[in-house]
Amino acid sequence: MEALFVNLAAVLSGWLTSLGLSPIWADTVLLFVKWIIVITIITLNIIILIWLERKVSAFFQERLGPNRLGPFGIFQTIADAIKLLTKEDIVPSAADKLIFKTAPMFFIVVAVMLYTVIPMGQGMEVINLNIGLLFFISIGSLSTIALLMAGWGSNNKWSLMGAVRSVAQMVSYEIPLAFSLLGVVMISGSLNLQDIVAAQGKLWFIILQPIAFITYFIAATAELNRGPFDMPEAEQELTGGAYTEYTGMRWALFFLAEYTNLVAVSALMATVFLGGWQGPWLPSWLWIIIKTYGVILVFFWVKWTFPRIRMDHLMSFSWKVLVPVSLGNILLTGAGIYFCRWMGWC
C-alpha cells in the first residue's frame, strides 16, 4: 500500500522506456500523466469539498444541509455542476470581453499549478523542486492578477471594488505569509518540501513554531479569500464582488479555483507544520489526505463562525500586527537556533 503510486509510476516509466522513448521524453510523458492525475483528483476532491462545506456549515447552524440527492446528499454538487454547465453564459455588453473571459481560466491554471510541488506522500510529487516552498508562494501571488482581471473586465463598480480590495489584501498578506514560513525554513535548512517533511521526523513544526503556524493560518485565510477575509466576494457589501457579473461555468471556475487553492494551502500547512505525510500505520498518501482535511475543517469552522473584517482593519492588522509578529518570530527562531547550538542540542 505504502508505495502503491510510486510503484505504479515506476512501472509506467519502465513501460515507456521499453517503447523506445529516451529517458527525457519518458519523463515528460510521465509528467503529463501526473498532471492529469492531479487535475482529476482536484476535480473529484472539489465535489466532495463543496458538499463537505455545505454539510459542515449546516451542522454549525443546526441545519441538515444537502440531503436529497444520494446518501446524505452527496450528489448535490454534481447536480449543481450540471446546472452550472447548462446555464446561459452571460457576458455583459459593456465588459472588456477578452479580459473577462480570460480571468477565470487564468485563475484556475494558477490554482492547479500550486500542486506541482506538494508532496502527496513519500516520493510522491509532480516535481521535486529544491525551492518548492518559494515556488508555492510565488505562484500563489499570481492569483491576484486573475482577480484584478475579473474586476476590471466586468466593468462594474462592485466588481472593481471587490477586485481592488482583494488585490490590496492579497499583496499585503503575502508578506506575513512568506515571513511566517521562514522560521520553518531556518530550522529545516531547506526550501525543498520533502526535506521539510523529513526534518519533522521527531517533532512537528507546529510545536517548534506555534507563532508561525498562527500567523501563517491567518495570512493563508486572507490569501484564500475565505471568511472572515472574503473581500473579493463579500456578498453583503459588494453583492458578489469580483464575481458579480460572472454566470454559469465561468463563475463555477472561480469557485473551483478557490477550493483548489484551499486544498493546496491546507496541504502545504499539513506538510510544513503537521509533519506532512509522516504518520504511523497508515500509508503516507492517506496521512496527508487526513491532515489536509483536518486543516480544511478548521478553515470551515473559522469561516462559519466569524463576521467579515472591515477593509481598513484588515490592512492595518496585516501591517501593524502580522508583519511585526512574523518578523519577531524569525528573530526568535534565529536566537533559538543559536541557543540550541550553544547548548549542543543540535
Partner: protein, 176 residues
Amino acid sequence: MIEFSGLSLYDAVFTAAAGVTVTAALGVVLFRNIIYSALSLVLAFLGVAAIYFQLNAGFLGVIQILVYAGAISVLIIFAIMLVMNRPAGRTNLTSPRTREVFTGGTITAMMLTALIAAIGLSDWPKTVLLKGADDTVGMLAELMLGDYVVAFEAAAILLLVAVVGAIILAKGVENK
C-alpha cells in the same frame, strides 16, 4: 533520441518561452488599451521566469514571478487605474506622431546596441547552461550576504527611503 529536425526538447521549451516573452513584450508596446499592455507585461515576466527555470536558476525564476509578475505588475495596473481619465481603449502612449516614434526608436536602438555589446564582450562561464549548481539558493545567499553585503544593505536602505517617500506623497501635504 527523438528530435524534431534537429530541435531537441530543450530547444523547443526555450523557443516556446522566448516566443511568449517576445510576443508579450511586443504586445506591451503595441496594444492601444493600456490595461492590455500591463497584462502583456505580466505574461512577458512569466516568460522570462520560464527561461530562468530552464537555465536552472529556479530561485531567480521564482523571485521573478513573486516580485515582478505578482507584485510590481499589480502596482503598475493599480497606478494605471488610479490616474486614468480616458476610455481604456485609447490610453497607450503609442501615438501616430512621428517625433515621439523617432525619439522612442532612437532610445530603444541605443539600448539594444549597448545590450548586444555587453553580451558580446562579456566572458561568460560556460558551465551554467549545461550543469548549473544544485544549490542556487545557497550560492546566492553566500554572494548576497557575504561578498556583496554592503551593496545589498545599501539597496535595502534605498528601498526604505523610497517607501517613506511614497508614504509622504500619498498622505499629501497639509493645507495651511
